[in-house]
């Protein structure tokens, strides 16, 4: 093997190593790229940042349709709480306003900072489900053993495509005491 082949090998190896390191960076670059794609609605996602409070609009109530809205309440991992909805499901007409109460209890003897994250099924519903008021807009501080009543006021945009008759809305409470997003 001549000297020049050795040099060529080392040079090529360095170039390839740079590509490998760049691809490691690309993996991380996918995180902001994903955010942008979600913003452009290429990927649908429910996220705290995406949940916008919608002003109350007077829709014409569509009495000809009845939509079943189901509520699921969950706790992430070992979040030390109790969490339930006032009703398991309600029937609503598109365009009318409803308020549903949720109840959450801190079962520890310490202050707890918790955050509820919503999720819709089917996912496409999220753009028609308009929330005027929701406990999921913010983190809540629970005093030891405190129970809070958490209202959620919403309407369903009458433009909701005809094929959807049942909406499932699930809330998951996360214990955010350690990693609050509140700066």
């Amino acid at each position: 093997m001549s000297e020049s082949v050795g040099k060529k090998n080392a040079k090529l190896a360095k170039t390839l190593l740079v590509i490998a390191v760049a691809m490691f960076g690309f993996g991380y670059a996918l995180v902001p790229i994903y955010d942008v794609l979600c913003e452009w609605k290429w990927i649908e996602r429910d996220r705290p940042d995406d949940i916008k409070k919608v002003p109350e609009v007077a829709y014409e109530v569509d009495l000809s349709r009845e939509i079943t809205v189901e509520f699921i309440t969950m706790l992430n991992e070992s979040t030390p709480m109790e969490f339930r909805a006032e009703k398991k499901q309600i029937k609503v007409h598109p365009g009318e306003y409803n308020t549903v109460n949720f109840y959450a209890t801190n079962k520890t003897n310490k202050d707890l900072l918790a955050r509820a994250i919503p999720s819709f099924s089917p996912a496409v519903i999220s753009s028609y489900f308009e929330k005027i008021m929701c406990f999921c807009f913010d983190e809540q501080i629970f005093k030891p053993q405190e129970t809070k009543t958490l209202p959620m006021r919403f309407t369903i945009n009458p433009k909701l495509p005809k094929e959807y008759n049942t909406i499932t809305l699930s809330y998951t409470y996360f214990d955010n005491t350690e990693k609050s997003v509140k700066k």
């Binding site: 001549s2 090998n9 490691f24 991380y28 996918l30």
Partner: protein, 546 residues
């Protein structure tokens, strides 16, 4: 890095006289591509049996409904570890081993381009796999959230115990090892070819490995990044995948499958290379459509990067996304079809004989095509919702991995062992091994299509009674398949120790020297080869492209 190369250069001149060092140190410090290739292959074979033993635990538990032998958490550890061990411990290292042995022989190079890095990548592999295996003995057990390590499941204490950081560091080591291996292979192919060998003269095995090398460099770092994010989410309060902190678990699926889909081609492209080497020799014809084989390999590798989300049709995507990933995935059938038709056309009208390597190759063409067709079925987004996470997908990817990658690794063993050792393997036992494997692999995996279509989910230790019959049949096939592989172990050991005693010629197989440089060397292959590059390279395999 240049220091390493210079040192090798310095010694290169006086290398050709002396053989291997004596004793155990030979294997620890060796920079010889044949020694390192052997170590990779032996290690991969050992891991094949470790991963296989885990598969036996899975099939034993699923033999009947109900919980018989293991608890569910351990069962889930077995499915997770079986996949990780087979992918990163068996199939990938086995192909790197073949590359180490064969690429320098095939292109007329004295050794790999970066021999000392070659040694290091092997020992990092061993360290990585041992680290992974150590999690089996930890409190809480080995990872059991599936080999894809999806959050939030994999981050929850009940599914990781203390194992997660060890699994992540193991992935880092395995990643570094395979990236170094890939750099080495690319450098060898690019710079070390015999002067008379042009790119389009290279044997297909060399071509497929060149392209695989680029896939490895492009995606292994992305996987390393994804698992690093898991690690920081778990221990350093980042929120890449944590919804409460503004992250999104679906992001992980995108990053993972950006790696994961090219990864499955990393395991199949060298398989194609081995098939393209073996079939022409036993059909006694040049490979049909050499140039189209090269372009098809490149096309498959390119498509690998733009189809990842077909693994996650059910995760939530806009309709346009579902359609794009559906059609893009279907396009892969075209270059793959080119390959299957080329192998078939190579056999067409050939003077075929059916020695064990050829039998495995023919079974590969047939059974891999079946695995490809079920892949097409799942590429159809609306029907994928039915198959997703059922035994149908298990059947699909096992058809593309076991009777494809594993069969061609077996074929490669039978095909090149006589060359490497100078001894002929026992053809009778080889044929017995083939027929037992080819029949039992279908008993094992074919019923899983039915189970999946009927709705049996994957990764469960217990199931509804209507799935009992096919599961029992599948398990019986699994036990026969597992036991038959011991024949392969026997044959390998027997061949190394003298085999049938029949002296093999330099060519080993009839007219093989027309097909590749390695068959012009003596059998067994001397410790140092091609210290002066060959003057003429055989181009029989590329005849129809010139």
């Amino acid at each position: 890095m240049s220091a390493v190369v210079d040192e090798h250069d310095h010694h290169a001149d006086d290398h050709h006289d002396h053989g291997p060092a004596k004793g155990i140190l030979r294997w620890i410090v060796t920079t010889n591509h044949k020694d390192i290739g052997t170590m990779y292959l032996v290690f991969a074979l050992a891991m094949f049996f470790v991963g296989g033993a885990m598969a036996m635990v899975i099939r034993a538990e699923l033999f009947e409904p109900g919980l018989q032998f293991v608890d569910p958490a351990f069962f889930n550890s077995m499915t997770t570890m079986h996949a990780l061990v087979m992918v990163f411990g068996a199939v990938m290292p086995a192909f790197v081993g073949l590359a180490n042995w064969q690429i320098p022989l095939m292109i007329g190079a004295a050794d790999m381009a970066l021999p000392r890095m070659n040694n290091m990548s092997f020992w990092l592999l061993v360290a990585g796999v041992l680290l992974l295996a150590s999690t089996l003995f930890m409190e809480g057990g080995a990872p059991n959230g599936g080999w894809t390590l999806y959050p939030p499941l994999v981050l929850q204490p009940i599914t990781v115990g203390k194992a997660l950081p060890f699994a992540v560091f193991s992935v880092h080591l395995l990643g570094i090892s395979s990236i170094m291996g890939a750099i080495n292979i690319i450098a060898t192919i690019t710079n070390m070819r015999a002067p008379s060998m042009r790119m389009m003269d290279m044997p297909l095995f060399v071509w497929t490995w060149l392209i695989t090398g680029f896939l490895l460099i492009a995606v292994m770092p992305v996987f390393a990044g994804a698992v690093t994010m898991l690690l920081t989410d778990k221990f350093f309060h980042t929120s890449f995948f944590n919804a409460a902190g503004g992250g999104d678990p679906v992001l992980y699926e995108h990053i993972f499958w950006f790696f994961g889909h090219p990864e499955v081609y990393i395991m199949i492209l060298p398989t194609f290379g081995v098939a393209s080497t073996i079939i022409p020799i036993f059909a006694r014809k040049p490979l049909f459509g050499y140039a189209s084989m090269v372009w098809a390999t490149g096309a498959i590798a390119f498509l690998a990067f733009i189809v990842w989300a077909h693994h996650m049709f059910t995760a939530g995507m806009p309709l346009a996304g579902e359609l794009y990933f559906m059609y893009a995935t279907m396009i892969i059938a075209i270059p793959t079809g080119v390959k299957v038709f080329n192998w078939t056309a190579t056999m067409w009208d050939g003077a075929m004989t059916f020695e064990t390597p050829m039998l495995f190759s023919i079974a590969f063409v047939v059974l891999f095509t079946m695995g490809g067709f079920t892949g097409l079925m799942m590429s159809i987004a609306p029907s994928d919702f039915q198959y997703h996470d059922t035994y149908f997908i298990v059947a699909h990817f096992h058809y593309t991995l076991v009777p494809a990658s594993i069969f061609m690794l077996m074929a490669a063993g039978y095909f090149w062992l006589p060359k490497w050792t100078g001894h002929m393997y026992n053809e009778k036992i080889g044929q017995l091994h083939f027929w037992l494997s080819a029949i039992s692999v279908n008993i094992l995996f074919f019923p899983q299509h039915f189970l999946g279509l009927a709705g049996m989910p994957r990764r469960i230790p217990d199931y509804a009674v209507q799935f009992a019959d096919w599961n029992m049949i599948s398990s019986i096939g699994g036990f026969i398949f597992g036991a038959s592989q011991l024949l392969f172990l026997y044959i390998v050991i027997d061949t190394v120790r003298g085999g049938t005693g029949e002296k093999v010629t330099d060519e080993v197989w009839e007219d093989a020297a027309k097909h590749g440089l390695e068959w012009t060397l003596p059998s067994p292959v001397p410790y140092h080869t091609w210290t002066t590059p060959p003057a003429i390279v055989p181009t029989e395999h590329v005849l129809d492209s010139h």
